[in-house]
């Protein structure tokens, strides 16, 4: 052990002063902006660990493969829009579904975070609790966007994705999906700050996820659904986001739907984020 009683330096002044006699700087706190920057950087470190990133990219590609092959016949049904290939119909919806999973991941990650010793330490430091959640939200949103770009590129190269809206249309669809994922991330983070345990968050989140996704127009047009399910699918906010993304990609955007989706997402975050932050502060 190098720690001995006659060690020439001490914890309070080790290293920074070399006999000048000036007191070493005490670090007393940083701006909220700096905190958000540092904390989102911390969450983004996951990008350096392939084991944590690869499944997030592979899962949607795998699903894309399965769905595009299994449900291909849907495009031959009557209610399917004429002249549209199934992959062009499916991929924009997949952007949305992967946004939902990304949001869910934010929530689960936050429950894990609650049990991480460093968060308890953060709470005893001059750090706003909100910046911990904002940092995570930013990091997850960036990750989500990267996943989606990979998905679009893979779709174009491997599955022949090439919708009428062109690159710009697809980027518009991506934007819708990223905004939705950001907004859902806050919903799931609020849920997790309230449930507190990862083992409780996973099934609850999974259920919400499944209902939102399958009772929507993600995989098949709602016209083909039984009437009770169609009624739900048509009010499901997910359907609106999917319609917005799909119309953008297919080159037939409806400004109203797109703006409504952005508006709803913004309102949801404005309402939910303070709740999530408050619950997170109380949870320990």
């Amino acid at each position: 052990m190098s720690i001995t009683a006659d060690h020439p330096r001490s914890p309070a002044n080790a290293g920074t002063t070399t006999g000048s006699g000036a007191a070493p700087p005490r670090f007393r706190g940083s701006s909220a902006l700096r905190q958000i920057q540092v904390l989102s950087g911390r969450s983004l470190r996951a990008l350096r660990e392939p084991a944590l990133v690869l499944p997030g990219i592979l899962e949607p590609i795998l699903m894309l493969t399965v769905f595009s092959q299994v449900f291909r016949s849907v495009s031959q049904t009557q209610s399917f829009p004429a002249g549209v290939s199934y992959i062009d119909y499916l991929l924009p919806a997949f952007l949305i579904t992967s946004a939902v999973s990304a949001g869910l991941k934010s929530g689960v990650a936050l429950t894990t975070e609650l049990n991480n010793g460093i968060v308890a330490r953060f709470k005893s430091m001059p750090i706003h609790t909100g910046t911990i959640l904002i940092g995570r939200s930013i990091a997850d949103t960036v990750l989500n966007a990267v996943n989606m770009v990979v998905m679009l590129v893979a779709g174009a190269l491997v599955f022949g994705y090439g919708p009428a809206g062109g690159v710009l249309g697809s980027l518009g669809a991506l934007l819708v999906a990223v905004v939705l994922g950001w907004s859902l991330g806050w919903v799931f983070m609020a849920l997790s700050a309230w449930l507190r345990k990862p083992e409780a968050m996973q099934p609850v989140g999974g259920m919400v996820n499944m209902v939102l996704l399958f009772a929507s127009n993600a995989f098949v047009p709602t016209d083909g659904l039984p009437s009770w399910l169609r009624a739900f699918a048509e009010v499901n906010p997910m359907s609106h986001a999917i319609t917005a993304a799909r119309d953008l990609a297919l080159g037939d955007p409806d400004a109203g739907t797109v703006l409504a989706t952005f508006g709803i997402c913004a309102v949801v975050v404005a309402v939910i984020a303070p709740l999530a932050i408050r619950n997170f502060r109380r949870a320990s």
Binding site: M1, S2, I3, T4, A5, H7, R9, S10, P11, A12, N13, A14, G15, T16, P24, P25, R26, F27, R28, G29, S30, R34, Q35, V38, L39, R42, R45, N116, G117, I118, A120, R121, F122, K123, S124, M125, P126, I127, S284
Partner: protein
């Protein structure tokens, strides 16, 4: 520097702290001594602004911990098993992260991380993930993490529980050096020996109440239970041995089957006196042990009911001739 005045904390019907008051002058060390559940951690989390008291007030550097929590957090460092580091990050990255959050520039943060790693003998482990650290390394990293901003007040919640004696002494030396630099320290512990070594004054907590406070010397005066226990091979040697010990001005007591003689002594040099007396009596000795007073002895000496609860363990240790947990030398 730390001023606690009539603090109580209730969780539902459970009272964790009951009218606790204490004061820690700037640059001194207070040892908060107590068993699990005595309320030590609750008091630390109130002072570290993590928990709000039900009543009473507490101040750190003159700042109220509930009203001016934000400012208090700028002055304190906290180390406990609940406030630690990010296990998914390497040790060095943890320290840099904390320094950056506290307002250090990238260069300052890296410099501070490196000097703390060196100081805590973790330089070689700096790039390894914290989850792969040994128990002693983790505690050193935890402590380093709470020192990043050079806080004026440090709370150490059971910093050495579960550590081996070598790691424990290493941590003690670090704390001693912090104090030399003028840091104010509040330390909780279950070990009388630890409080004795590090603390200027000691407050004993039992079931949420302060049952004693004073300097370590004052407390030991009241406890005075250092003892040497002699284990005899044959019960028939007892009378002779007791006689010899009494001639040496000692007051031995024996257990039920008469094989273990417990001899209260002033300090460890009295071991020689005991050994000489036993030798003089020509007695065959099966064992000899020196015991420092333990927290149980403190509770016993203060006549606190908690003692009854823990006395069984102490009694078992006494009759078998094994010294109890804290402080073992022979």
């Amino acid at each position: 520097m730390i001023d606690v005045s009539h603090i109580s904390k209730r969780f539902g019907t459970m009272t964790a702290l009951d009218d606790v008051s204490l004061a820690v002058p700037r640059g001194s060390v207070l040892g908060l001594l107590g068993h699990n559940g005595a309320g030590k951690t609750t008091l630390v989390s109130i002072l570290a602004t993590l928990t709000r008291p039900s009543s009473g007030r507490a101040r750190v550097a003159g700042l109220d911990v509930t009203g001016r929590a934000e400012e208090v957090r700028r002055l304190i460092g906290l180390t406990g098993q609940y406030a630690s580091v990010d296990e998914t990050l390497p040790g060095r990255a943890n320290l840099i992260l904390l320094a950056r959050l506290l307002g250090a520039t990238r260069a300052e943060a890296a410099g501070r991380a490196d000097e703390l790693l060196e100081l805590f003998d973790l330089t070689g482990a700096g790039r390894r993930n914290a989850r792969n650290y040994s128990g002693g390394m983790r505690r050193r990293l935890d402590l380093a993490a709470s020192l990043v901003g050079r806080p004026e007040v440090i709370f150490l919640d059971e910093p050495t529980t579960g550590l081996d004696p070598v790691a424990r002494r290493g941590l003690w030396e670090i704390v001693e050096r912090l104090v030399k630099d003028g840091t104010t320290v509040l330390l909780t512990t279950q070990y009388l020996e630890e409080a004795d070594t590090l603390a200027d004054s000691i407050t004993v907590l039992a079931e949420g109440r302060v049952i004693a406070s004073g300097t370590a010397a004052e407390l030991k005066e009241r406890v005075g239970r250092r003892s040497v226990s002699v284990t005899l091979r044959r019960a028939e040697d007892r009378a002779r041995t007791v006689e010899a010990l009494r001639r040496a001005a000692l007051v031995p007591a024996h257990d039920e089957d008469g094989l273990v003689l417990t001899v209260p002594v002033a300090d460890s040099t009295d071991i020689a006196v005991v050994v000489r007396a036993v030798d003089e009596a020509g007695t065959d000795m099966a064992g000899l042990a020196f015991s420092e007073p333990t927290l149980d002895d403190v509770y016993l000496a203060l006549n606190h009911p908690t003692a009854a609860h823990h006395a069984t363990a102490a009694a078992t240790a006494a009759t078998t001739g094994h010294p109890t947990e804290a402080g073992t030398s022979s």
